[in-house]
């Protein structure tokens, strides 16, 4: 079962850690809203396959981060449509 985890919380929140602790190797992680600042957080180790919403990155001055796959809202729709299961943290 391929699970897509969508997290919108800032990485200083305990919920963010609970999301990371729930990830299996084959799972996907999508960062939305305040969660995108995790890409700039020196204390957070993200799985190598992670996605981040373009609009949220741009808003926070984080466009062009090399450690994520940037997707737009249509890309988010495709990820969710392809997932066997979705957990929204």
């Amino acid at each position: 079962m391929k699970t897509l985890h969508i997290v919108n919380k800032s990485p200083d929140q305990a919920r963010f850690g609970r999301c990371l602790a729930a990830l299996e190797a084959s799972d996907q992680l999508l960062l939305t809203e305040n969660a995108v600042i995790a890409l700039a957080d020196a204390g957070i180790v993200l799985p190598s396959e992670n996605y981040a919403l373009a609009a949220d990155l741009e808003a926070r001055g984080l466009a062009g981060r090399p450690t994520t796959t940037v997707i737009d809202y249509p890309g988010m729709v495709r990820l969710t449509a392809d997932a066997d299961r979705i957990i929204c943290w």
């Binding site: 919108n8 809203e33 809202y73 249509p74 729709v77 969710t80 449509a81 929204c88 943290w89």
Partner: protein, 136 residues
């Protein structure tokens, strides 16, 4: 070709407090544009404030309840605010206004007040259910 996938969107974050209604609307528009359908939008917890007809933001800010209402009506998408969440938080339709003897109702069309059974129905269906939460 995508007709097999349909979404249910549950919004639990309030407008002007969280980004949830904005992210959910952008997602919903993109889903329809790609040929997917949206079975239902369900407001829960603080999310019920998205169904307020009285929100009056400054003219240079989006009126999120109005933007959502127009989107829902324009695309014939059923929209429900959880009645238990809504009554506590001061969102009433005409029927509840009468029952609770208040001076006004304030729910914006096309939102209806219904129970959690609507959400359960989505879970039990083939609809993919996504949650748009607040930032905490």
């Amino acid at each position: 070709m995508h007709s097999q996938t349909a979404f249910t969107l549950v919004i639990t974050g309030a407008p002007y407090s969280t980004q949830a209604p904005q992210t959910a609307l952008a997602f919903a528009k993109a889903a329809l544009a790609q040929g997917y359908s949206i079975d239902r939008v369900f407001l829960y917890g603080d999310g019920v404030h998205l169904s307020s007809a009285l929100a009056a933001p400054p003219s240079d800010e989006t009126n999120w309840p109005k933007a959502w209402a127009e989107f829902l009506q324009g695309n014939d998408i059923p929209a429900v605010a959880c009645i238990a969440s809504a009554l506590r938080r001061g969102i009433l339709n005409n029927e509840e206004q009468a029952r609770y003897q208040r001076n006004a109702s304030n729910i914006i069309e096309p939102f209806e007040l219904l129970g959690l059974g609507e959400w359960v129905e989505s879970i039990a269906s083939t609809s993919k259910t996504l949650y748009f939460h607040g930032d905490h």
